[in-house]
C-alpha cells in the first residue's frame, strides 16, 4: 500500500497573518507543518501499517525551499518527500497549486491513495482535493471522518449536514480528512534524528512539465483590487457576576422580547 500525503507548510497560525505588498501571505518566518495535515500523515501511517507494508510519501508545494514542516512529518514516520519549490510559485491560486500537486503525484507514480486535509489553515480555499482528483481522473471522497481500506477499495464516513454518508470507491483515489479523524503521534527523538537523512526530492515546476504561466500570479487569472480592515463590532456593557448577574441577562432577554 503506497500512500501519498499532501502537507502544506505554513506560517505559525498563532501569529496574526499579514499580506505582502504583492497581496500574498507573508511567509518570512520559519514555516511549520499545517496541523490539519498532521491528521493525513497519521492516517497514512496507520493505513500502511494495517496493510502490512508500503510507503508514505509526502508532497509539499512552497515558493521558497522550506523543509522544516516536511521534517516534522518525516519524523512522524513518512519515508520520503517531494518538495516542489520555486519563486515562480508565489501567488499561486488553488487550481495552479492543484496542477503542481497532480504532476508531483504522477512523478512519484504507483500510488494507491492521496490524502489531503479538507482545507489548509492559512488559505482555506478547500477546493484542492477535488481539483487534484479531477486532474488525475481519480474519484474524490471528501470530508472523511473515518477511512478504511479493503479489497482494493476505500470506504469513508463523509461528514454531512445531517450526520454522515458511507462513501466507497476503487483505488487509486483522493481522500480529504477532517481534523480529529485520528490522533496524530508526536515525533519520537529517534524519529527526529532519522528524519534528517530521509530523501527529499526537490523539483521545480518546469521539471514537472509546467510552464511558468501556469503557476503563480500569471496562472491565477485574478487580481486583488482592494484590501481593507473589517469594521469592528462595538463592545457593550460588561458586568461582574456577584450572584445576581443572571437577572441582568433576564432583563436583556425581556428587552429583546425573546422571553
Amino acid at each position: 500500500m503506497n500512500i501519498l500525503v499532501c502537507v502544506k507548510q505554513i506560517p505559525d497560525p498563532a501569529t496574526p497573518g499579514e499580506l505582502t505588498a504583492e497581496h500574498t501571505l507573508k511567509r518570512e518566518a520559519k514555516l511549520i507543518l499545517d496541523e490539519s495535515d498532521s491528521f493525513g500523515v497519521e492516517m497514512a501511517l496507520q493505513l500502511v501499517d494495517k496493510a502490512g507494508g508500503g510507503d508514505v510519501t509526502l508532497i509539499s508545494v512552497a515558493p521558497n525551499g522550506e523543509v522544516s514542516g516536511l521534517r516534522t512529518a518525516l519524523a512522524m514516520g513518512a519515508a520520503k518527500a517531494v518538495l516542489v519549490s520555486d519563486p515562480s510559485l508565489s501567488g499561486s491560486d488553488s487550481l495552479s497549486t492543484a496542477k503542481v500537486i497532480a504532476k508531483a503525484v504522477e512523478r512519484v507514480g504507483d500510488a494507491d491513495l492521496l490524502l489531503t486535509a479538507t482545507e489548509s489553515t492559512d488559505g482555506y480555499t478547500g477546493t484542492i482535493p477535488a481539483q487534484v482528483a479531477e486532474l488525475l481522473d481519480w474519484p474524490s471522497l471528501t470530508f472523511a471522518k473515518q477511512v478504511t481500506i479493503a479489497d482494493g477499495k476505500v470506504t469513508i464516513q463523509r461528514q454531512t449536514e445531517a450526520g454522515y454518508d458511507v462513501v466507497e470507491a476503487s483505488l487509486p483515489a483522493v481522500v480529504s480528512v477532517t481534523a480529529g479523524v485520528v490522533e496524530p503521534r508526536y515525533p519520537s527523538f529517534k524519529g527526529i534524528m532519522a528524519a534528517k537523512n530521509k530523501p527529499v526530492d526537490a523539483v521545480k515546476p518546469a521539471d514537472l512539465g509546467l510552464a511558468d504561466d501556469q503557476v503563480g500570479w500569471a496562472g491565477a487569472r485574478q487580481k486583488i483590487t482592494s484590501v481593507e480592515q473589517a469594521p469592528e463590532r462595538q463592545a457593550g456593557e460588561k458586568i461582574e457576576d456577584d450572584g445576581t448577574a443572571f437577572e441582568a441577562v433576564v432583563a436583556y432577554l425581556e428587552k429583546l422580547k425573546v422571553v
Binding site: 488553488s94 477535488a130 479531477e134 463590532r233 463592545a235 461582574e240 441577562v249
Partner: protein, 318 residues
Amino acid sequence: MKILVFAEADNGAPVTSTLELLTKARALGDVEAAYVGSDVDAVAAAVGEYGATKLYTADSQGSLVGVVGASLIAAVIAVGQPDLVLFAQTYDGRDAVGRLSARIDRPVLTNGYSVTVDGDSVSIGAQVFGGRVLVETQFTGPTPHLAAIRPKSFVAEPSGGAAATIEQVDLGETGRSTEAKVLDHHVEEREGPKLEEATIVVSGGRGIGSAESYGPLVDELAQLLKGASGASRAIVDAGWVPYSKQVGQTGKTVKPKLYIALGISGATQHLVGMKGSDNIIAINKDAEAPIFSVADLGVVGDVQKVVPKLIEALKAKS
C-alpha cells in the same frame, strides 16, 4: 450577465444557501440553476419562485451530488456559456466547484461574502485572517467565472416567479469521478430549529468544563429559548458534540437575532462565524476574554453558577 447557480436540495426543498444565491443572482442578471437529485418538479417550482427561469438537471445515480454536479455544469457550459457560476460553500458545493474548475481550467474564488458586477467585470469579496481583513478580488481571465459563497452572505427573498423550465441533461463522459458511490446515509437526531436558521443560538465552549455539562447548560438554555445549540471547535475536536454544531470559520456561519456564548474565549476563527448576530451575550470567567469585545452584554462569571440560575429564572417565568 448570465448567471448559473448550483442548486442543492433536501427532500425536494432547496436549502437556504441556494435561495440566498438565487436572490443575489437575480439582482445581478439572468439566472438559471443546475441541480442533481430527485424531486425535480418541486425543486423547479421553488427555484422559479426565487428567480431562476431554467433548471438543468441530471440524476446522481448513487454518486456524490457535487461530483455529478461538476459534470452537469460542464455540459451546460458547453452549450450556453454563462458568465458566472455560483456555488454555496457547502460540502457538495465545494466538491462541485473544485472538480469543475479543474475540468474547464478556470480559477475559483472561495469563501466569498459579496459578489459585485460592473459591466463585464466580476469581483468577489472575502474575509481573511478570521474576518479581520476584507479582500476584493476580480477575475481577469475568460468566462465562465467560478465562485463559492459562504452561506448567510445574502438574505433569501422570493420574487414570486413561475416554476423554472426543466431540462434533462446528458452528462456524457464522467471518467472515474462518478466511481465514488454513496452506500448509506446516517442521520443524527436533532431537536428544535436548524442551527443556521434559528433566531436564537446558544453555544458552548471549553469553559463549560466537560461533555456532561453540555446538556444541562447549553441544550437546556437553547430549548427554553426555542433556539438551537452550537459549539466552538475546541469541544467538537474534543468529541463532546458532533461537528454539525460547530460555529466559525471551518463550521457554520450564523446570524441569529441573539447569540449566547458560554465559556467561549472568542478566537478570531470563532468570531467570524457569529459576529454578524444582531445581539450577543457572553458569559466567561476571564474578564480579558476577546469574546467580550463583540458582546452587547458581557457577564464576567462562572457558567456553572450563572447559567443554572438563569435557567431557573426563565423556567419560573414560563
